[in-house]
C-alpha cells in the first residue's frame, strides 16, 4: 500500500470533521491502517482554519455539530481550491435530505453507525 499523498500535518489527504473525537478517532485509525493520511478535526471552524491553505482531497463530515454545523461547513469547503470531495456522515436521514436541499454536492453519504468496510469502498472509489 503506497501513500498516495504527502504526509505532512497541513497537507493530509483526508480530514475527518466530527465533534465526537471518539468517532473521528476510530475512522482515522481505520483509514491510517489502510495507508491513507488522515487527520481529525473536532469543529467546522477549526477545520476550515487548518485546511484553507492546503485543502485535503477528501473530507468526511459529520452533519450535526455544535457551532458550525456540517451543512454550513460543507458550503464553505466548496469555496476552497482545489475543491475537496465531501462524504457526509449522519445518523439522521433528514439531515442528509437537508444537505441536498442546500445544494451541497457530495461524493457520498454514510449513515451512522458506519460500517468501516463501506467507508473503505467510498474512499477507494475516490482515490481509484
Amino acid at each position: 500500500m503506497t501513500d498516495p499523498a504527502s504526509n505532512s500535518r497541513t497537507g493530509s489527504t483526508i480530514v475527518v470533521i466530527d465533534d465526537d473525537p471518539l468517532q473521528a478517532g476510530e475512522i482515522c485509525e481505520f483509514l491510517n491502517r489502510l495507508g491513507y493520511d488522515c487527520r481529525v478535526e473536532t469543529s467546522g471552524f477549526a477545520a476550515l482554519r487548518h485546511i484553507t491553505e492546503n485543502p485535503p482531497a477528501l473530507v468526511l463530515l459529520d452533519i450535526r455539530m455544535p457551532g458550525l454545523n456540517g451543512i454550513e461547513t460543507a458550503r464553505r469547503l466548496a469555496h476552497l481550491k482545489p475543491r475537496p470531495s465531501i462524504i457526509l456522515m449522519s445518523g439522521h436521514a433528514d439531515m442528509v435530505a437537508e444537505a441536498h436541499r442546500a445544494g451541497i454536492n457530495v461524493h457520498g453519504v454514510l449513515e451512522k453507525p458506519i460500517p468501516l468496510r463501506l467507508l473503505a469502498s467510498f474512499v477507494r472509489r475516490k482515490f481509484g
Binding site: 468517532q23 481505520f30 491502517r33 455539530m65 455544535p66 453507525p113 460500517p115 468501516l116
Partner: protein
Amino acid sequence: MTRFNWLSRLLLAALFATTLVTLKAATVATIAPWFAVIIILSVVGPLLNKRISEEQGSRDTLARWEKACAAFSTVVYLVWTSAAYVYIPADDDLSELTILVFLFALNIAAFSTLLPSRPTMVASLLALNAPLALRLVLIGKPLYLVLAGAIVVATVSLIRASGAAYRRLVDNMDLSFEKSALAERLSHSNDLIRAANTDLAGREAHLTAVMNAVSDAIFTLDRRGIVVSANRGASRLYGCTSESLAGRSLFADLVAISPDARSPSVSASVLLPENGMDSLIPRDVVAHRPDGSSFEADLTVNKLRPGADAVRVAVVRDITKQKDMQRQLLQTAKLATLGQMAADVAHELNQPLNVIRMAIENALIIGESPEPDAELVRSKLHLVIGQIDRVAEIIRHLRVFSRMDRGDAVAFDAVQVVRQAVDLVRSQFGLDGIVLEDRLPRAALSVEGHPNRFEQVLINLLRNARDAVIDRHPAMSGVRRVRVSVESVSAAKQVHILVSDTGSGIAPDDIERIFDPFFTTKEAGRGTGLGLSIAQSIVSTMGGRISATNDGDGAVFRIVLPHVETVS
C-alpha cells in the same frame, strides 16, 4: 219636543176639521194646496230634523244644513202666504177669521217641524206672519188690529222661544260632538295601548324564546345570590324544573368554585362584588345538580345595572366536552413531546452505537493482522464497554421519564430533578452552541408532587429558553446562554427555581397570555402552545406557581414551590 209635536198635530187636525165644517166648498178647494204644503212640511221637517241631529260632523256641516233649510222655508212660505192673501176670498168675518187662524196655525206647524234650525224658524215665521199682520192692519177693523197685534206678539215670543230651544239643541249637539270626539280619541288610545301590549307581549315571548333556546343555564339572582328565575337551559342542565331551581342559593346549592369551596359566604363575596367590578370574568366551577351529580362548568355573573340591589344574571355553561377535549389535547401534547424526545433519543443513542461499531470493526482488523496487538484490542474493548454504559444511562433515564402520572404525589428533591433535566438537555444545548449554566445547591430541597411531571416542566422551560436564544442569535453571534438556578427561601418556606435566558424576552402584550392554552409566539408547526399551560397546571397541582418576567437580556421564568419538611 215630542209633546209639542203631538200638540201641534192635534191642533192641525182640529183646524182641518173646523175648516171643512165652516168654509164653503169653493174656499176649501182654494186652500187645499196649503194643506198639502203643511203635510209636506210636517213630513219633510222631521226627516230634516232627524238628519241634522244625527249629523256627526262639524258645526260647518250643521250650518250648511241650516242655510239650506232657511232658504227653502223662506221661499216656500213667502210664496204660499202671499199667494193666499192675494187669492183667498174673505166674504165675511168668520171666513176671514178662519183663514187667519188657519194661517197662524201654519206657524205652529213650522215651529214644530223646523224647530232645530233657528234661522229657518225665524225666516219661516217672518215669511208667514208679516204678510198676515199686514193684511189685518189693512182691513182696519178694531178686532183685526187686535189680532194683528196678537200675531206680532206671538211671532216675537215664538222667535225668542225658538232661540232658547235652539241654544239647548246646539249645546246638546256640542256635547254630543265632544262626547263622540272624546270617545273616538279614547278608542284610538285603546287601540294604541292594545297594539303596544301586543307588541310587548310579542317581544317578551321573543326574549323568552331566545332565553330558552340558549343551551346555557341563565339565572337571575337577588343580591344574596338566591335564584329568582331560571331559563329552560337551566332546567335541562340541572335536570329539574325551572320552578324547583328558584329559591335555591346559586353558590351554596348549584355551583362550587372548587370542590372544597362550597361555602356561600366566601363564594358570594367573591362572586357578587358590591363595589368596583360589576361583572365576573368566567371562571371554572363545578356545578352540582339537585340529584347529587355534578358537571364541569364555567360561570359568569353580571349585574344588570350598577348598584347594590341590582339583579344579577348568572350564566352557567356546561364545559364538560371542552374539558374532555382539553384533556385529550394535553395527552396529544404529551405524545408530541414524547415524539420529539424520541428523535433526540435516537440521535443520542446513535453516537455511542457508531463508536461501538467502528471500534469493534477496528479490533477485528487488528485481530486479523499477522501480529495482533493485544493491548490495542483490549483498549478497543474498554472503549466499547464505556459506550455501552453511555447507552444504558440514556435508556435508564428514558425509563424514569416514561413513568408518567403514576401514583400519588410524593416528596422529592427538587435539586436532583433540576439536575436531571439539565443533564438531559445539556448535549442538545452544546450542539446549539448554548452555554448552559446551573447554580444548584448541594443540599436537597424537598417539594411535593410528581417528579416526572416536574421534570417535564423544567425541560419545557429549557427548550423554550433554547428556542428564544437561537431566535435572537441565529448566526451563532451574541451570547447564547441559559441559566438555571435553585434557591431556598427559608423565611417563606419556599423553593424557587429560576430559568433565565439571553433571548429577546417576552413582549409586554404577550406576558399576560403566555400561560394560556394554545398561545404561542413560535411559528406554525413549531409549538403547540400547550407547553407553558401544562407547566402551569403541573406547578399549581404541586401547590406552587409559575411566573414570567423580563430581565434585561431576556426572559426569567420563576417557579415557586412550597418547601416540604421531610422526616428522615
